[in-house]
Amino acid sequence: MTGRAIITFENVTKRYGRVVAVDNVSLSIDEGEFFALLGPSGCGKTTLLRMVAGLETPDDGRILIDGQDVTQVPPNRRPVNMVFQSYAVFPHMTVAANVAYGLKVEGVAEAEIAPRVEQALKLVKLDGYGARKPDQLSGGQRQRVALARALIKKPRVLLLDEPLSALDAKLREQMRFELTQLQDQIGVTFLIVTHDQDEALAMASRCAVMNKGLLQQVGSPSDLYEFPNSRFVADFIGQVNIFEGRLDIDAPDHAVISCPGLPTPVYLDHGVTGATGATVWVALRPEKIELSGRKPGSEPPKMEDAPQGANIVAGEVRHIVYLGSESLFEVELDGGARVKALRTNLTRWDQEDFAVGQPVWLAWHACSPAILLN
């Protein structure tokens, strides 16, 4: 993506007393992106968003919107609008009055307001609801009012603070889809804050993962998931098995890591840029582990892309979580370590009929593990 930067954070820091909420963050968001700020609660993502809106002022650093330094500009004079977590729909005004409010305070002529309100309500599929009061709306509809109210101002960036957290699962799914569709349709940059990694992966074109006020990693959803740069990111996004190990061999075309928790070495078909002998962490996603039945005493089969005896371990099923579309198996290895493996439920009942106590082989490809240096 080589768009024009619409929001730029330059060494932004925000402290609350002794707590550093946002710690020297520099980040650039391009025009037209669907950008997600992702992190556990208290990581500073909301503070960062509120600083874009002007509801918080950074202690250090600058924020540029569309090339303009807005660090000291009050919220009512910024070309961005926000959808609040509680939606903050004004309860004493009708839906139409809520949507019109931003234009009214701007001094737009009445004659122009009415058609624009209608258009905005149509955009969020609330046409015909203009005369209702917010207490006659469902949570999802109230959120649409908040959306229309923000979008009618034609913001350069739409800020969304945990927009889906108050909706039920089904509606959340639908709104995810609608939000991405809406963004495609109007082309406005969306900056969304969420603690829900599924939400971020599903909607965003790019994400920033934050922890304790620090930016951990910025990248596309697949980058973050498949190429995390730290144990925090690997663990925060999706499920993962992490093994601490030692880098034994690091060649340009392969690497070998031995982990105390794994009975066999981890073989990689690519090099790792680390010092030989250094401590590294092997992150293996549950869905990248293949599960197969094992007869006690049998020899391990060879993985086609790894030397004999590498990337395959023996274990016993300890726990099975049926999730509908897939099942999560918790397998205890010979050394006592527990590994999670995910299997898609390809058929309506398990052909191999794995049960608790079943001896199994766990195997993975040489390209599957992500190697983390911190």
């Binding site: 809106a53 002007g54 509801l55 009050p74 919220p75 009512n76 004079r77 961005v80 609008n81 926000m82 609040f84 977590q85 509680s86 903050a88 729909v89 004004f90 309860p91 004493h92 409010y101 931003g102 305070v105 701007e106 009061k133 917010p134 207490d135 908040a146 109210r149 923000a150 101002k153």
Partner: protein, 284 residues
């Protein structure tokens, strides 16, 4: 076929006791003790007897007398004027105080919050004496002012105790305000002043109504403080009634009191109705 056995009646819980006769009796007793005196007062206002002890037949004469009694009318107009003006002033002052306490942090804020409840807890007689001393010795209020300026001392006294009631009510109401609402207005382009008028004041409205109602009734029926601050030309209705019963409890007093009750109840009903049309949004 075996007869289906009814399950034994569950033991009544605390909320079921209203269905039991001892409790009903208790409720009935309460109602009688609360309302019997009022009912008697009203009934005897129609009694055709000066002595007003025994029922001697129905008459509206005393209402006619009350309505013709100039000094009583004067006192009544005084009371209403004082109540209206002091209500408006205490709502404005109380709302501003509530906003201040809700919105800002400043040194000695707990002190101010405590001081606010002093007029609520200090015995009225002390307040009355304090105002008497204040308005005679410290800031002598000129007595020869034309009406309604001569009511100034009483109005100030009334505002000084009723605005703290307004402030407490409005402060409680503001506690339920969602700050994101204010931020949303700012975000949509409203200035701080606009946000206050468009978003915060509408949220305060039920509190303003309730507080105003409280201030109005407090002022209208205040006797003790008014007694100490009123002069010969600034008699209010309660003070006048007091002076009337010093001679004897005539049906005139009953009639005047009945009128006052009717007016207060009517005003309260109107205010509650106005507030009710507004209360539907509280759910949000």
């Amino acid at each position: 076929m075996a007869e289906t056995q009814r399950p034994p009646r569950p033991k009544p819980g605390p909320l079921d006791y209203l269905a039991r006769w001892p409790l009903r009796l208790w409720v009935a007793g309460t109602v009688v003790f609360l309302y019997a005196p009022l009912a008697t007062l009203m009934v005897f206002s129609f009694n055709n007897s000066r002595r007003n002890i025994v029922w001697r037949g129905f008459t509206l004469d005393y209402y006619a007398q009350v309505l013709q009694d100039e000094s009583l009318q004067h006192a009544f107009v005084n009371s209403l004027t004082i109540a209206l003006v002091s209500t408006v002033l205490s709502v404005i002052l109380g709302a501003a105080t509530a906003l201040l306490l809700w919105r800002f942090r400043f040194p000695f804020k707990p002190g101010l919050e405590g001081a606010l409840s002093i007029p609520i807890v200090v015995p009225e007689i002390c307040m009355g004496v304090a105002f008497l001393v204040f308005f005679t010795k410290v800031v002598p209020w000129p007595t020869a002012l034309p009406w309604p300026l001569n009511l100034g001392a009483i109005i100030i006294a009334h505002v000084s105790f009723s605005f703290s009631f307004v402030a407490s009510v409005v402060r409680a109401r503001l506690a339920s305000f969602n700050r994101e609402m204010e931020e949303a207005a700012r975000d949509l382009g409203a200035s701080e002043w606009r946000t206050l008028m468009d978003i915060i004041v509408p949220h305060m409205r039920p509190g303003l109504f309730a507080g105003g109602l409280l201030a109005f009734t407090l002022s209208l029926d205040d006797f003790v403080i008014t007694f100490f601050t009123s002069g010969p030309d600034t008699i209010t209705f309660p003070v006048k009634v007091y002076s009337m019963i010093r001679f004897s409890v005539t049906p005139e007093v009953n009639a005047a009191s009945t009128l006052l009750i009717v007016i207060t109840v009517a005003l309260t009903a109107i205010a509650l109705r106005l507030q009710g049309s507004d209360a539907g949004h509280d759910a949000l």
